[in-house]
């Protein structure tokens, strides 16, 4: 899994995630989110456009990230352009928990 340096879009901090979000890649994303939250960034966007695989472990990391931001009155938005990764969110009803967006621009402008 690969994470880009987060960049700022208004009040949002956007991180692009690429690769496989599973039991190997998930912990790295968890560490990244915790570091961001600890640095005071509570409004996060995770751009999953480059993710080619996600399973329940990766979903769990993202649920935990949303919980951490919400506890600090922040929020987490997800960019999922393709149907493949979106389907995994939908099967777990997480499309009702997260705001899923098709582009970063859409995520930060809503």
């Amino acid at each position: 899994m690969h994470l880009t340096q987060a960049f700022r879009e208004g009040p949002w901090w956007v991180t692009a995630v690429a690769g496989e979000l599973d039991v190997v890649g998930g912990p790295e994303l968890r560490q990244h989110v915790m570091a961001q939250v600890n640095q005071g960034s509570h409004r996060l966007v995770l751009d999953l456009s480059g993710v080619d695989f996600i399973d329940s472990f990766g979903l769990g990391v993202i649920v935990g990230a949303l919980k951490r931001t919400r506890l600090l009155d922040g929020d987490l938005r997800i960019v999922v352009p393709g149907p493949r990764i979106r389907r995994v969110f939908e099967v777990c009803d997480l499309d009702r928990v997260f705001e899923l967006h098709r582009t970063v621009q859409e995520a930060v402008s809503v």
Binding site: V23, V24, S56, F57
Partner: protein
């Protein structure tokens, strides 16, 4: 790729005159290390691509379901401390694909697994795990899970469709 560039109509895979030259079995024995989960996904999804009746989107479902079962097996071995290998059998059958994941961990109580709160409830965010079983059951056509104190046996089946991804000549 083992297959060609297009779709063509084919016979019913359950009919007696359908060819089955693609059938076979792949057996893996892996150490209980998380790094091997992606290897299992790769091998099983590659085997599934040999099957002419399994559509590409179903192979994606298979990747996720197999990942869930294999991750559970690895973590079960980690928690029980066993050094035994995990066995994965992928059976490319005539009209379906069957994947069996067998571990030697301590097993678990299927009835004791927590029920996830409704997605609209704030309590849903308190649960980062507990989605794997749901994914397996929703994505596979058949899911059988038999936990015991000497290990867990998981069987996932994906049915083929009646359309044949045959080679289009010319």
């Amino acid at each position: 790729m083992a297959h060609g560039q297009g779709l063509s109509e084919a016979s019913d895979p359950t009919s007696s005159d359908s060819d089955s030259t693609y059938t076979g079995e792949v057996v893996l024995a892996i150490p209980a290390l998380t790094e091997y989960v992606s290897l299992v996904r790769l091998v099983v999804s590659s085997a599934a691509q040999i099957h002419p009746y399994i559509e590409p989107e179903r192979i994606e479902d298979l990747r996720v379901a197999v990942s869930e079962a294999t991750t559970n097996a690895v973590r079960s071995h980690e928690s029980s401390g066993t050094t035994a290998q995990i066995r994965v059998i992928c059976n490319v059958a005539e009209d379906h694909i069957e994947v069996i994941i067998q571990d030697h961990g301590e097993g678990f109580d299927l009835d004791a697994l927590p029920v996830l709160p409704d997605p609209d409830s704030p309590d849903r965010l308190l649960h980062e795990s507990g989605m794997g079983l749901r994914l397996m059951r929703m994505l596979a056509d058949e899911t059988e899970i038999f936990p015991s104190s000497s290990g867990t046996y998981v069987r996932l089946v994906f049915h083929g469709t009646k359309r044949h991804r045959a080679v289009v000549s010319g």
